[in-house]
Symmetry: C2
Subunit: 423 residues, 2 copies
């Protein structure tokens, strides 16, 4: 008589973003039981989140239920819940509601969140852009601001309402500034009777010497020109020193505004710091070359929560391709251990970076090639459509983009949520 089937080891994955989801899929068919826990029911395609904020796309276009994505993977189980802490010795994660989840292997892929560098009071005044709720809140503020400007009699206050400040010149800040300015220039002018929406000021503030610093100085300069051509004001080398209810301070200047968005920085989620292992300045867990936790070969950390410092040039950027490649690598090393094969050290293959600057304009570098303008924009469209996790999103996002491009009238300009009177 054969032995009864052994119980397969449990792989607990914390986080259903790019890193966690790719790790789960890389374990399909393997002799393990995967349990993926996330505090949201959906995987979110974060690179397009700014288009929900700027009312081009709906949440359902860039997010899909994790259960749906993994429905055909028989060895995967999805749990809706938030992990509060991990007991590394007991090999057990505890959720905020008290439930415990035991594991044989653990892959931590819980990501990052907006960070205000200790200025926590800024969070309420300048929302960040990390979740669908954030995007809907920013959309709500953008659209309500034009409504308030339309109703304002005082020209100074009207100018204040029509001034938007976006803090942070990385891809999120650049793309949001470009698309907001285009909405003000192309979409809204016909709808308002008293204000000139095309005169709305969109100010992008970057503390460093250039925007899109990681793209190299050539593209950084091109991006600056591209934004300025459509009317975005870019302030370089000037950190924000204060965010108040009706203004921001930068350098010696006070800019009256009612709408500030924070795209200036992230830190790892607090879960990393609860592990009792070394973390870096922004809370990322320092990992071994094989992505495991020092002293805990059964635990892997990937994506924004990991500080991988073994490559050239210091820690890796917090972008989707790093998370995806690390998720796949961690799953591979886990399977190698099960099969008594040696683990591989992680090596990041940088395939390039790209960012849009509004309608028909983008900057991109792919390997050693740099593109700008229309070709870069078409490449951006194509690559982002292909990267969307499921086919249905590709179809619908394609049509939304086609519609928005042809008509300049993106569809999702709805003010939802809190009562109108609450602003």
């Amino acid at each position: 008589m054969a032995d009864p089937d052994p119980v397969p080891p449990t792989v607990l994955i914390v986080g259903g973003g790019f890193g966690g989801l790719r790790a789960a899929r890389a374990l399909a068919g393997a002799p393990v039981q995967v349990v993926l826990v996330d505090r949201q029911n959906h995987h979110l395609f974060q690179p397009l989140l700014y288009q929900v904020a700027s009312a081009t796309l709906s949440p359902a276009d860039i997010a899909a239920p994790i259960r749906h994505i993994l429905r055909d993977q028989a060895n995967a189980d999805v749990v809706l819940g938030e992990v509060a802490s991990v007991d590394l010795d007991a090999r057990r994660a505890v959720l905020v509601d008290g439930r415990g989840l035991s594991y044989d292997f653990l892959i931590l892929a819980a990501g990052s969140r907006s960070s205000y560098f200790g200025r926590d009071a800024w969070a309420g005044l300048a929302p960040g852009l990390k979740t669908l709720e954030d995007a809907l809140e920013i959309r709500r503020r953008f659209l309500l601001t034009f409504e308030r400007a339309e109703q304002e009699e005082d020209p100074d206050l009207r100018r204040e309402w029509l001034t938007f400040v976006i803090v942070g010149g990385g891809p999120t800040g650049v793309e949001l500034a470009g698309t907001l300015k285009e909405m003000a220039r192309l979409t809204l002018p016909q709808e308002f009777r008293r204000i000139r929406t095309d005169r709305a000021r969109v100010i992008l503030v970057e503390a460093g010497p250039g925007i899109l610093a990681n793209f190299g100085s050539g593209l950084s300069e091109k991006a600056l020109q591209g934004l300025e051509r459509i009317g975005v004001e870019v302030r370089l080398g000037q950190p924000i020193t204060a965010i108040e209810e009706h203004a921001v301070q930068l350098g010696g200047e006070r800019i009256p505004t009612r709408t500030v968005v924070w795209a200036a920085g992230v830190s790892a989620v607090p879960l990393g710091a609860t592990l009792g292992v070394p973390v870096d300045r922004i809370g990322r867990v320092l990992v071994e070359p094989d992505l495991s936790l020092p002293g805990h070969p059964e635990v892997f950390v990937v994506g924004d929560l990991a500080a991988f410092t073994h490559g050239p040039g210091g820690a890796l950027p917090g972008v989707a391709p790093v998370a995806i490649q690390q998720g796949i690598c961690a799953a591979g090393n886990l399977l190698a251990t099960l099969a008594s094969r040696p683990r591989q050290a992680f090596r990041y293959r940088d395939k390039g970076s790209m960012a849009t600057l509004g309608r028909g304009r983008a900057v991109a570098h792919i390997g050693r090639l740099s593109f700008t303008g229309y070709p870069a924009w078409l490449a951006w469209l194509f690559i982002h459509l292909m990267l969307l996790v499921d086919f249905r999103s590709r179809v619908f996002v394609f049509f939304e983009w086609l519609w928005a491009y042809l008509t300049t009238q993106p569809r999702a300009r709805l003010i939802l949520g809190k009562k109108t009177r609450d602003i």
Copy 2:
């Protein structure tokens, strides 16, 4: 020398639903200044709201900014705000934020809201379905309920989580019950590992002797059979006597459930009662045959806020065609007065009623013709697509429906809003 242009009279329209919006459009090109005020920035196609609740459509599919719809109407101005009261003698409406809007003519089209017949404590336990926020809240509750059932070990509690009660057998209740049962039967089973979502109980409770009472007894009976065939339990002649946190009471029976939706009744918004004129039992303003307010020929009331009792068969139902025809009639009577022509009495032309019972099934009567099954469903699809106010919604809703029909996987199954831990 010619006289300077006279200042055109101001027509204030309160409400951008079917009645108010159609009135505004009927005044396009007329020598009046239209001011349309609504507390939301969007016109909502309410007949499809249940499809947002059941995760087939996104808010942007069935709503469009009122400014966008009226952008080419030069004599129309849109104000985002909520009217608190109207001073009929001073011809002035006051918004909740204190601003005043003067008028020469007033068209009140502020609609209705869910009514719990004095049981206000039920509102928090059993949300109604009148706004996009309501629909997103119901969607959130539906989807979270399946998550909680999946995590529940106790079989009795699991059954409690998997029991849904929908109160009210009108079109909203019927359509929501059908589509929820189909989601549980067709969309979700593959995604959950522990629960049988297809065994979820969906109970439709109607206090009267039949569902879809306005459709006539033949179709009412057909609708009942259609719902029962897909597994909806319909309880007729049994009013809900209590809604508790974990159960509803009806007749002598206690049904344990965590999810109750209220589709049993509406009343006019409170604005009607503030006018100091006669209103009916559910707060609707009694209007003259020409839709004007008794003693105030410059004020019209249309749609759900109006009680029009001059036709055969008592007050008209609170449906979109009544509001549309009344909005157009009120605008016409207003223009007649400006042109010193006599006003027309309103006459409702009932073009029929229809409701879906899930995938490929509906009941409809158009004039004296009754349809059921697939032909009725196709007629429902076609007519509702054509009624969507703008072309872009038609295109996108068509593709969403096609997708959902072909795959049984509607796209918008996202849990958004409050933190997961809050339920």
